[in-house]
Structure formats: C-alpha cells, structure tokens
C-alpha cells in the first residue's frame, strides 16, 4: 500500500461517525418519547373520570362535582356534520375540477388557492368567520362554528381527493370514453366509485382534524354549558369544553378536562392513524 499521510485522521473520522449516529439516535428517540409522555399523561390523568355520567350528562354548576360533557359531544357531532355537509361538495368538486377538467392557468390558481387555504392559521379562520358572520348575521352560533370548520376541512378534502384521483390510471378513463360515455359520466360513475374508499379516508382525515380544532370555534360557536340543538345559538364542542374546564380553578373540572382530552385524542388518533395506514397501503398498491 502506498504511504498514507493520514495520521490518526481515520480513527477520528470513525469516532465522529459513531458520535453522529449516537446523537441522531438520541434525538430521534427523544422525539418518540415526547409522544409517549404526552399521551401517557392524558391517559393516566383522564381515565379515572370516564364513567357513564361523563358521556350522558351536562356540566354541573360551578364547583359541584359530577356531571359530564354530553352537550359538548353532541355539539361537536352536530357541527362536524354540518361542516362536512358544506365542505365535501366544495372539496371534492374542486379536486375533480383540478384533475379532470382543469385547464392551464386557472387550474394552477385553484391549486394554489387550496394550498393557501390549507396553511391558514386556524385562529385567522375564526377571525374571518367572526368578522363576516358572527358580528352581523348570526351571532355566536353553531352555524358560524360549522362554517369555520368547513373552511378548515375544504382544503384537506381537496388535496386528498386530488391525490387519489391522480392515482387512477388513464386507461380506465379511456376505456369508458371509447364506449361513448360522456366525460361527466366517466368521472361520476367510473372514476369516483373506483376511488370511493380513498375519498372517504380523505374526508375522515378532515373530520379528525376539525374535531380537534378549538381556536376557530372559540370565536364562532363560543361554547355552551347546556344541551342546545339550535344551531343558531352558541354551541358546545369538546375542544371548547376542554379549554374552559382546564383554565378554570376547579379540580373536578380539571379532571374532566383530562378525560375529555383522552376521549378526543382517542377519536382523533384512531381516525388519523387508520387513515395514514390505509393511505400508505393504497399508495403502494397502485405504484
């Protein structure tokens, strides 16, 4: 071998390599640990307060123990339903436009708008609906809350459906067109049914996200301690209830806040995790 004028450099390089492996591994595991710590605390602190009352009763007055967050669960469900009803047509329709009908500049603009909408801080969405609707039209209400949630859901649905539609091979469309099917029928009756599961998971993802949103609801639905089925009045929601309970001075409410968080995380986590899992599988299958 030729003389290696390296000195001890190779050993030093090996040491640096080992150190970097160790450091990055520590950083990665620290990040993982954070998740477990947070979820762990939620589980430990919340599980004690989960009982039948918790799910079926409304909050008791200040200071009294007992009661539950039934009205918040109802409120969340109602507002999510209405929000989905609004968001799905716009989200799916926009995605269909981008992928199947879009032409040049305008389609690019639409996609850009979807991206911008997706990146909006949720409090800004709240301020927007607050300024637009709450102040002058409906006051603090379930409708306003649903509107805010819908705005948050639309870009998530649009992006998800866009990706799914792009995965559909052109040959499928060509086969249908060759049979003389008009374009809109190809899209509605051939392409969409093929990817319906994918579209549903996209919707589920947006629901999971919306279910956890607090800030926009703060400025629109405001929250409510009683059962309220009138969407034109302030409406309770789980994240709002958590916030109200957590910043209150009562231990019992703190405990309920933890429990609500546990339920919320459970729902959101399961939905998101399942969606991510299924999406990966689809991506692999179609590639």
């Amino acid at each position: 071998m030729r003389k290696d004028p390296e000195g001890g450099k190779f050993l030093r390089r090996r040491a640096v390599g080992a150190a970097s492996l160790a450091i990055t591994a520590i950083l990665a595991f620290a990040s993982v640990a954070i998740l477990f710590v947070i979820v762990g605390h939620v589980v430990v602190n919340g599980i004690g307060s989960l009982n039948a009352d918790f799910f079926t009763q409304i909050p008791k007055p200040y200071g009294e123990s007992g009661g539950g967050i039934a009205q918040a669960i109802m409120g969340t469900v109602m507002m999510l339903l209405l929000a989905a009803l609004i968001a799905i047509p716009f989200g799916v329709g926009t995605a269909i436009y981008i992928v199947e009908f879009g032409r040049g500049r305008f389609a690019e603009l639409v996609r850009f708008a979807v991206e911008l909408l997706a990146e909006l801080p949720s409090i800004v969405v709240g301020v927007f609906v607050w300024a637009l609707v709450v102040r002058n039209l409906t006051g603090y209400s379930g409708i306003a809350g649903s509107l805010a949630l819908a705005i948050i859901m639309i870009p998530i649905i649009a992006r998800g459906v866009e990706e799914i539609l792009k995965l559909v091979p052109d040959s499928l469309r060509e086969a249908a067109l060759a049979l003389g099917t008009p374009k809109w029928k190809v899209v509605v009756f051939i392409v969409i049914p093929t990817v319906l599961p994918g579209i549903l998971t996209g919707i589920m993802l947006s629901v999971a996200r919306a279910a956890g949103e607090t800030a926009p609801l703060l400025l629109t639905a405001l929250g409510n301690s009683f059962f309220n089925f009138d969407l034109r009045k302030p409406m309770a929601a789980m994240p709002l209830q958590i916030y109200t309970y957590a910043v209150s001075p009562y231990d019992d409410w703190h405990a309920k806040a933890w429990a609500s968080t546990l339920v919320l995380i459970g729902l959101v986590g399961i939905l998101s995790g399942a969606v991510k899992f299924f999406t990966r599988r689809w991506k692999h299958e179609s590639q």
Partner: protein
Amino acid sequence: MSPNEGQATGAEASDGRMMRSLSDVIQDRGLEQRVEQDLGKGIQIRGLSAFYGTHQALEGIDFDINPGVVTAIIGPSGCGKSTMIRCLNRMHEVIRGASVTGSVLVDGQDIYAPDANPTRVRRNIGMVFQKPNPFPTRSIYENVITGLRLNMRRKAKHEYDEVVEKSLRAVALWDEVKDKLHDSGTALSGGQQQRLCIARAIAIEPEILLLDEPASALDPTATMKIEDLLFELKTRYTIVLVTHNMQQAARASDITAFFLADERHIGHLVESGPTRQIFMTPSDKRTEDYISGRLG
C-alpha cells in the same frame, strides 16, 4: 499520441492501437517491477457472487485484472457488468439488502475480508459514474480536492493548488478551467464535468480507477476525449471500464471481458482475453453472437 487522431476508420485505428498496446504488454517482461513503481495494482477476483436481497446477479466470477492496461467489461444489458464493477470497490453493498460472497484481492489482500473496512477500500479505488456528478455546492477547485480534504491531514494551500493543477492537467481540463477554478462544479459542459469527476477521482492517487459507462451520457466529441484520456491514464492506474458500446471497448481497451446473464438472470463471465482476440477470434459462440450483433 492519441489513438483517435487521423480520423481512421474504427477498425483500422483500433487495430493499430491494439497491436501497439498488446505488443507493449507482450514485450514488457519486467511487468512486476513496473507495477511496484508506476502502474496500479492488479485485481484478482475469485469466486465472486453478488446478490440484491435474494436475487442473484452474478455467479462464480473468476478473473484477473492487470495493471498497465485498460480492461473493458462488456455485455448486453442485464448481464451484471455494472454490478461487477461496483463489487470491486465495495459500492455494491451500499444498496439496501445487497451482498457479496467470494473474494476480490487487491495487492494480495481481500477487500472483502471480515476485518476489511469498506471506507478504506474505497479510498484507494477511484470510481467514475455513468452520469457526471460534480458536487454542485462546491467550486471546481473544491471538487477536485474533496477526496484529499476527506482523507488526508490538512495541507498547506499551495499543496492543494499543486494537486488541483496536476489533476486537471492529467484530464486535459486545466487550460479550459484554470481561470474559473472557483466557479461551481456544475458550470461546465457534460464532457468537462465528467473529466472533472475523473480529476477528482485521481487527485487522491488511487491505484485503481473504475469507470462505469463514463461516456454514456456524453456526445461523441466528449466521448473521444474520455477515451484518449484512458490511454494516457493506464500507464499510471489499473483501469476497469464498463461499456455497453462495443466499438468503445474495441477502441479503448486492451483486455476485454464478456459477461452474459443466463435464463435465471444470473450473470456469468463468458470469456476474457486480449481485446483483439475477443473481437476477432472469440472462443465462445455466445461471445461471437454478441460481437456480431446477434445477441443483446
């Protein structure tokens, strides 16, 4: 003396060159001594098999690569020639799940010995890739000395300057870039970039230079320049050249090895020998079929 001067037809020019280099090799009985001083090291490949996970790409490769000559590896696509050359500097195993059995001896030492360090192995064997890959965030100057900075003790600036000039002259790039040494490595034409990559590889004075289809992304003029370069460089390094272009092998190499994949898609060495012999009078029918265009 460039083999591509004179615009002779392919066969004539390659003929003349092959005769010259063959006779060089034949006449030079003092090969052993020259190896110690100027030429690179020889490589002995023994029983080499290569795998991508469970799929076998090469089986039982046995052959010798000599210093002072350009050895070309040819064969149809899928025959494993790229895999072969990447096994010579332990680049094959970089791919996830890839593995190698058998041995490759350089200077009598098996680079696949259990105590051998792949990083060290690669430092002593240079590689040039199918597409030029200068580092875009570095200048031409910085590209050339990348290997030095990595592997050697810090040097004085003038030492680096000398290496840069020497390496760039060796690849006939010095005059073209000496005034823009601090421009980005990517601010050159494809052919220049590839020569830069060769300069980068030889700057750390490896004993062996591996070129995996170095001209496949280049135009004919740039290709010619690379081939001329090989002719010069072989006096100082052991050169292994993978090429899918038979004419290039005929022009630029002294020894040729022909690889072919069998029905199981496993690559084998069919035959190897002096280039002239392989092209004019191959021993194996499969070689003859490939050369004459009936295969691949």
